[in-house]
């Protein structure tokens, strides 16, 4: 049997979202003047980069048959901490370390609740969402943290090689996650935790440790995302990221990752994130109210899933039997 080149092995089904994204781009390009400009395309990239930083670890968490609702609240809290550190002139590296540290702490807490205490991920992370959101509000008294100096805004506005800083970060994160999932043991174990945890335990792998690490990674990435979010707003706002967990889960699902059996793909998540970015941006360009945007993302998730399940039904019929559930 001849093996195809590394990485591009067996034909992977294209997620339904890819078709959707293509159609949306064509529609918006035709009807929205100013949509298909270089400036606007970069704008979509910048707007999508924070979401991608959340959606990447969310993909791994969902692959492990889990969920992290706390990510956006942890992002808000980390953003507030980051801004506060900058305001008190601790310098950007220390501020970033503090933000990632806060995120990591919440991620580890989520991991302990889910893995060690066996709480359902939905419940555990709903709890930590409340805690993180509450802390962000208490620390700031509900006010924005302003006066963060000019180091972060300068970094954020920089354009190495002509591409905005946040796009570089998002791109780097995507490549690191892809490498991790396909080339490392940890990546293989994430799929195994969701697909057949018993098999992993019987293989003598410390499944609990890897399972916890998935959640810890989610928290840390929320801390990293705070860098971009705070940079964009030049301030730390305690409710800046509210609702973003919905977009992150939506992007992952639209991208074809399943809540069951450890099935997931990061390429799909990237497409999902871009699809959501394009919808939001396109509706803005068409001057459609932002309230309708939330509804449109809901519709998007459903349409993408319907397309996916139709594609799957076709694939299953062609293949015959699959593993018992």
């Amino acid at each position: 049997m001849n093996s195809p080149p590394e990485g591009g092995h067996y034909v992977r089904a294209v997620p339904g979202a890819a078709y959707l994204l293509a159609i949306l781009i064509v529609v918006f390009a035709i009807f929205g003047s100013g949509f298909a400009t270089v400036a606007n395309v970069l704008n979509i990239g910048v707007q999508s980069s924070v979401l991608l930083l959340l959606a990447l670890p969310m993909t791994l968490i969902i692959m492990s048959e889990g969920l992290d609702l706390s990510m956006s609240a942890v992002l808000s809290l980390a953003g507030v901490v980051l801004a506060w550190m900058l305001m008190n002139e601790h310098g950007l590296p220390a501020a970033l370390a503090a933000a990632v540290g806060v995120g990591l702490a919440f991620g580890v807490a989520n991991g302990i609740l889910v893995v060690a205490l066996g709480l359902p991920p939905f419940v555990a992370t709903l709890g930590t969402l409340g805690v993180a959101q509450g802390l962000a509000l208490v620390l700031t008294g509900g006010q924005s943290v302003v006066g963060i100096g000019d180091v972060l805004p300068a970094v954020y506005d920089s354009r190495p090689l002509g591409l905005p800083f946040s796009i570089w970060i998002a791109l780097a994160a995507f490549l690191v996650f892809r490498f991790t999932l396909s080339k490392t043991r940890f990546g293989a174990y994430v799929s195994a935790i969701g697909g057949n945890r018993e098999a992993l335990v019987l293989a003598g792998v410390r499944a609990n440790l890897h399972h916890l690490a998935v959640y810890a990674l989610g928290g840390a990435m929320a801390g990293l995302a705070a860098l971009l979010l705070t940079g964009r707003m030049s301030a730390g706002h305690p409710t800046a990221a509210i609702g973003m967990e919905f977009d992150a889960v939506a992007a992952v699902i639209v991208g074809g990752t399943s809540f069951e059996r450890g099935k997931g793909r990061l390429g799909g998540t990237l497409i999902g994130v871009l699809t959501i970015g394009v919808v939001k941006n396109g509706l803005n360009v068409l001057a459609i109210s932002s309230s309708l945007q939330v509804a449109s993302i809901g519709v998007l998730v459903i349409v993408a899933l319907v397309i996916d399940s139709m594609l799957q039904a076709v694939g299953a019929r062609r293949r015959g039997r699959t593993l018992p559930a």
């Binding site: 080339k183 799929s191 057949n196 098999a199 293989a203 059996r261 699959t322």
Partner: protein, 495 residues
Amino acid sequence: MRGISKRFPGVRALDDVSLDANAGEVHFLLGQNGAGKSTLMRILCGAHHPDAGEILLNGAPVRLTSPADARHLGVAVIFQEFSLVPYLDLAQNIFLGREPRGVLPGTIDHRRMHAEARRLLDTLGVDLDTRTPAHELGVAHQQVVEIAKALSQNARILVMDEPTAALSDHEIDRLFARIRALRADGVAIIYISHRLQEIAAIGDRVTVLRDGRNVASFANAGNFANPENLANLVRLMVGRQVETTYRQKFCEQPGEIVLDVRDVDADNGVHGASLTVRAGEVVGLAGLVGAGRSELARAIFGADRVVSGTVSMNGTPLGRGPVSAVRAGVGLVPESRKTEGLALNRSVADNVLVAGMRKVFPSGWYCARAAAHVASDIVSRLKIATPSVGRLTRFLSGGNQQKVVIGKWFAAGSRFFIFDEPTRGIDVGAKAEIYGVIDTLVAGGAAVLMISSELPEMVAVCDRAYVMRDKRIVGDLGRADLSEANILRLAMHHE
């Protein structure tokens, strides 16, 4: 392994069992379903811990606290239930937990992993792409991957739990060639199989377990090429003749055909099944675990889709789905009573009435007094021991819970009952009561189809029995021929 004992809540799974395996031999472990083979092997691989007894390796006692321990000591197991990860590819599955390391820390050397996986699959004579994700494989290929996974561990002790169950003859030949090669290399192999003809083909020694105890060992497996010796072996697995019968009297004059199943193929794999059950009869559905008994029951009940053939009740074909089965008077007492049969946190009355709401309240209005009345009536008819009909079912004993499940179908007015392992996990006294209930049902003209893995129960309770193997009905035993040995003979592959 010496003097191993293991108790699970309510059962003594292993009682002072010993088993040894020498380097360079294939040791067959035989026994009926529930004899304790799988438990013993799970102890050997560190997944269960024995209550008593010790495990010695090369003469020195070892403690196995986890599967990782067992693996480090050179024990590899091919499990009966597949332990594959659906969205990892074959090579990743084969080397799960033992991936060849890449240059960077934490990374996998994919090139080497796939090359080694390729080599392993080649020795098994299987032409599969090592990059295929496991979920795309059929059952036989999954089995092959399991075998490759165990072989890749270079184990000194290799346990194979029914490795050939899903394989074709060609694949079995290749597997046996591998087993002979491993034996020549000095690997100790413990081999569990229900295909008795395999003993003579590759076995060296044989140990028989029954009811969690050692009952016999034979040094020369070659003798089992002789069918007479094989028949003796089956008798040993079955054990003592059962003197007690549980039924007061068996059905002499069965009534009209109640259930008529004709040439049913279902999408769960059941193939070409035909059977009839008459009023007043208890008909058994026997076979080994995985033979397709529960699948056939689900197809009859409409829980799994019937692809071709017909299922008729009292001469009328059933429509699709459980709703039409229930309306036609079919009641299913499922295998896992706590998850499929009961709402544990609801009262006895709620549980008993859940299937019969349409019958008891045809208008759609719920009346608590009428509900309590109907529930009390059923509780007294079935002699369910509960302080009141308001008691939550999770506080009842296993036997009484089972009666509540049966009572549910009383309220629904069922005339045909499917019992799937009705006495699993309940004590002897409660068993007798369940048999009493079955007796009363058929005496009242109802018909019963009973699935059981306990052969003595099958023989003692049923008027007739069908035997299944590989998702097909392979035999039909009348009362006169109904014996444990005859059931086993049909249920296993050894003709």
